[in-house]
Subunit: 378 residues, 2 copies
Amino acid sequence: MEASKSKVLGVLGGGQLGRMLIQSAINYNQDIYILDPDPQAPCSEIAQKFVCGSLKDFDTVYAFGKDCDVITVEIESVNTEALEKLESEGKKVFPQPHIIRLIQDKREQKQFYKNSGIPTADFILTASQAEVMAQSDFLPAVNKLGKDGYDGRGVQVLRNEGDFDKAFDAPGLLEKLIDFDREIAVIVARNEKGDLKIYPSVECAFHPTANLVEFLFAPAEINSQLEERAQEIAKEVILKLDMVGLLAVEMFVTKEGEILVNEIAPRPHNSGHHTIEANFTSQFEQHLRAVMNWPLGDTRLRCPAAMINLLGEEGFTGEAIVEGKEEAMSEQGVYIHLYGKKITKPFRKMGHVTLLDQSLEQLKVRANRIKNLIKIKS
Amino acid sequence: MEASKSKVLGVLGGGQLGRMLIQSAINYNQDIYILDPDPQAPCSEIAQKFVCGSLKDFDTVYAFGKDCDVITVEIESVNTEALEKLESEGKKVFPQPHIIRLIQDKREQKQFYKNSGIPTADFILTASQAEVMAQSDFLPAVNKLGKDGYDGRGVQVLRNEGDFDKAFDAPGLLEKLIDFDREIAVIVARNEKGDLKIYPSVECAFHPTANLVEFLFAPAEINSQLEERAQEIAKEVILKLDMVGLLAVEMFVTKEGEILVNEIAPRPHNSGHHTIEANFTSQFEQHLRAVMNWPLGDTRLRCPAAMINLLGEEGFTGEAIVEGKEEAMSEQGVYIHLYGKKITKPFRKMGHVTLLDQSLEQLKVRANRIKNLIKIKS
């Protein structure tokens, strides 16, 4: 027997991921409290309780967490000391604070892969620009900032010595540039009881300059051995982390047919947005099920799907205006999601579109057209 | 070019229908204001603005509507004079006030069918219990109260003269009891531009005593001629009403293969709840599209579905407790929707479950099991 409104779920971060989590939680009459520094955050108007405050301040996070029964995140840059204290006092914190701390530092993340035998690109830790510049032999490589990179910031491709001026003069790492065939992502979930469910892999196509996912296609066009291997790796990562919650694992498929883990995110992720319409259980509901220790849902794909990120158009900053919405809505299989952000700026994630169709071929043609149809301007 | 947050949609009523409408509207960044007399109404915590006040009071409804651009309803018992004044002052009110008034009175509704040539059971208008009792020859019949019937209240079956003590002593009607083969429902939507879309018909199974839909199955098991005829009738009703919005048309299929309109509801309806998961466009999104004059969505069914109403268990009144939720969630294709009502009472609509499966045969077995599994007690 369980009361229909028993436990409060607190979420650190009130952006679009929290917003879609709330939409899903309404079905279960699950109260959600949100902490976010932006009074106009996408969750501000629909959370049962919205607290405006810093995610990085110990006292703010601790006080927020005291009012909740279960605490989760929709962004990794949060105060982990407060979460650890809350955990030590008996609160459920999923993903666990030590995992959030690991994710906050790409250097530790890479070390974890290495120590756990998880396949990943070769790397060297670097502490300064000078240390990067000493590694000419390691090029071409990707220079990643250890901390505070997000949505494409904190990553630089260094093809030759001429690119050294772009190297970060801060603790980071240098990773072998992988000549990959494709980039895929697998989402895996695990609850406290230990139930584990894996979504089919999807294929990500990145924006040529902004280092952001521009399109996503589900399922990924890879053979069954690669699919199995990708699922196996995702499972291995969540088990080695001993993590409870939802984990997105981004991977490279190399031209030699090897799979290497690129990055992981311990929360709902851009590569799972299509699951709202395309899978039997959305990643947001699955996250909820995982952190609340409910049974996990069916991850199967119902039909092929594409996802198009609606990014703020270059050259426009200010109050957002959506162009082409109604024209897109008149097509079959078009699902628009706007995140309620009042202000647009170049490449800001303002929304996304899920597209359902019979085949990946049709989806590829249509995804391009929809992207050119809907524009976020000001 | 359209601003992403341009028009405010006001909804009279803040129950579960408004709640599911809000869940859908979040995708479009569409602000919704709600008016409801209950401060703890299911919409109270998720509406952009929640006004606590009477739906029947002219001044309250008028003042509420003045703050909105488009006004709709999720319940019919509202002050139509205020809506007419708002309409005359240039507000968009969908469904139009004269249609809401028609629906408020089952006598006028029946006259409308008759005058418009829409097939419906024969009937006699009655003003009092004495007038009903004068109609022995018309039995067996259904005695319906003209006004204020809702969710099974205001309807009595009179099989013979011995049932006359149950007859209403108020303006109502006596309708021939139809020896029907099955009850079906068709939802149709129309926007201001005149676009019109019809959902496939569904089959409704009523609770033996509470006169409430207990189960729903989609699609209805009827042949293609009957399906076509049902769609044609639904279309005829919305066109004869010249209505903008979403209309649910409940119909009898008689043993002779005739289709008769039973009742209509100019809003999202219990017979369309399965569309959230089972159809390409949910009835809630379709309602939004219709009243906002956006293009209408694809109404096709994605797979067979059942819907089970979660009614308050007999013998329990008080703070609601949901039994069996997690056990149900562990099954594939089970979608639980709880409406956020704090207090349960016998037969109160507390939530619903949508069930997806390969075939209607499997769904029928599973629907019964789920109904016995999830119980709303106190």
